[in-house]
Symmetry: C2
């Protein structure tokens, strides 16, 4: 059973990632403590963890602010995410086992079902499982953690992408090719396809940025100075 400070960390992360706090908003410890019905101590511990994860910036003696990424940084994150997923695909192509194959195909079929229904939100969920299946087939716990962390931070922006551009049919078609490459043990091809697949969302990102005032004006979100 997680301690209070861990629950708070998750709750705060959720709120920050979902943009409940605007870019650069000050996170007052007392206010948060009141809001969550606890003392400042667990709040501080949660903020420390989030600071290490890059979700908040802590300026000594001057409080914590939500480190909402600006457009530039978001692009960089998408770019890295694409490469990391590609890496996972390369690993998966080399190392998949029959069990991994079953998982992958099951996830792929689930995507097909949701795609045919045309439900973007449902597809998004199955899409996540599909990508997780690829990562799992890579058999690298460390890579899995890195993926999960990055994915959590990009989650709201990704979901937005799928919905606004109605990418679902194209996304599913790309999945088809990715599965084929992985099962054929063609790591390079799988990596290339995955890179493009994930990056498409970032490529069109410039359009999205223009439509999101909160992002366009996010000049105050600065690089995290956390050494971690």
């Amino acid at each position: 059973m997680a301690q209070r400070s861990q629950e708070l960390r998750d709750a705060l992360e959720e709120e920050i990632v979902n943009g409940v706090f605007g870019a650069g908003v000050r996170l007052d410890e007392q206010e948060l403590a009141r809001r969550y019905g606890t003392s400042r101590t667990p709040i501080r511990e949660a903020l420390m963890q989030l600071s290490a994860a890059g979700l908040v910036e802590i300026r000594p003696r001057r409080g914590a602010i939500a480190a909402v990424p600006d457009a530039q940084r978001l692009m960089e994150m998408f770019e890295v995410a694409a490469e990391i997923e590609a890496m996972a695909g390369r690993f998966a192509a080399r190392r998949w086992t029959p069990a991994d194959k079953d998982q992958l195909l099951a996830a792929h079929d689930a995507c097909r079902a949701r795609a045919n229904e045309g439900d973007a939100d449902a597809y998004y969920y199955e899409n996540e499982l599909f990508h997780e299946a690829i990562v799992a087939a890579g058999h690298s716990g460390f890579l899995q953690e890195q993926c999960a962390q990055l994915r959590r931070r990009l989650k709201p922006y990704r979901r937005l992408q799928l919905r606004t551009h109605n990418r679902v049919p194209a996304s599913f078609a790309e999945h088809e090719a990715i599965v084929a490459a992985i099962l054929a043990h063609d790591g390079e091809e799988a990596a290339r396809l995955l890179r493009r697949h994930v990056l498409v969302q970032g490529d069109r990102f410039a359009d999205l940025v223009a439509s999101l005032p909160q992002l366009a004006g996010a000049a105050s979100a600065r690089k995290t100075s956390s050494g971690l």
Copy 2:
């Protein structure tokens, strides 16, 4: 001027990364507080940050233990590090500016000088700058941070590698090819070369593991913190 808890975070990170605490050793808050001449509060906040960074594991109500990676995980980390550096190379090949080129060549020349002197430790230092120059040329602040974080954690193992296998001449030769590929804007080639370059250290890692009893048997929690 960093706060106490930030200094403590760095100090503890340093000690953990350098293996002052053996694998799985319990980090007693009171003891650490005594040792650093402070109260438990900043210690706890430092541990929280390190937990988010993956350097310690916090088990609820049961204290924190040093999360020293075992051989398997270390391999995974090397593997991911290799891919990430490769990614940086691909970016660099696409985006380098004349200033980046100067930096890269300067770092490369410094490596040459140290390699000719045959000083492995000095070479190791310049080698780090060389790789940092590549990452910088990729012009992605996010990637830069990811690299820095991973590199810090692998640092002690990497240095060990260069010294024990006398890889310096080979390493420098590989640098030569990498520089050429980047300056020729050949991202794929740069990535391929970098992946191999970094991974060599991991490939031979099995040998190293066998020679380090503290790693080979790291599954059990031992109190001998006098290691290395």
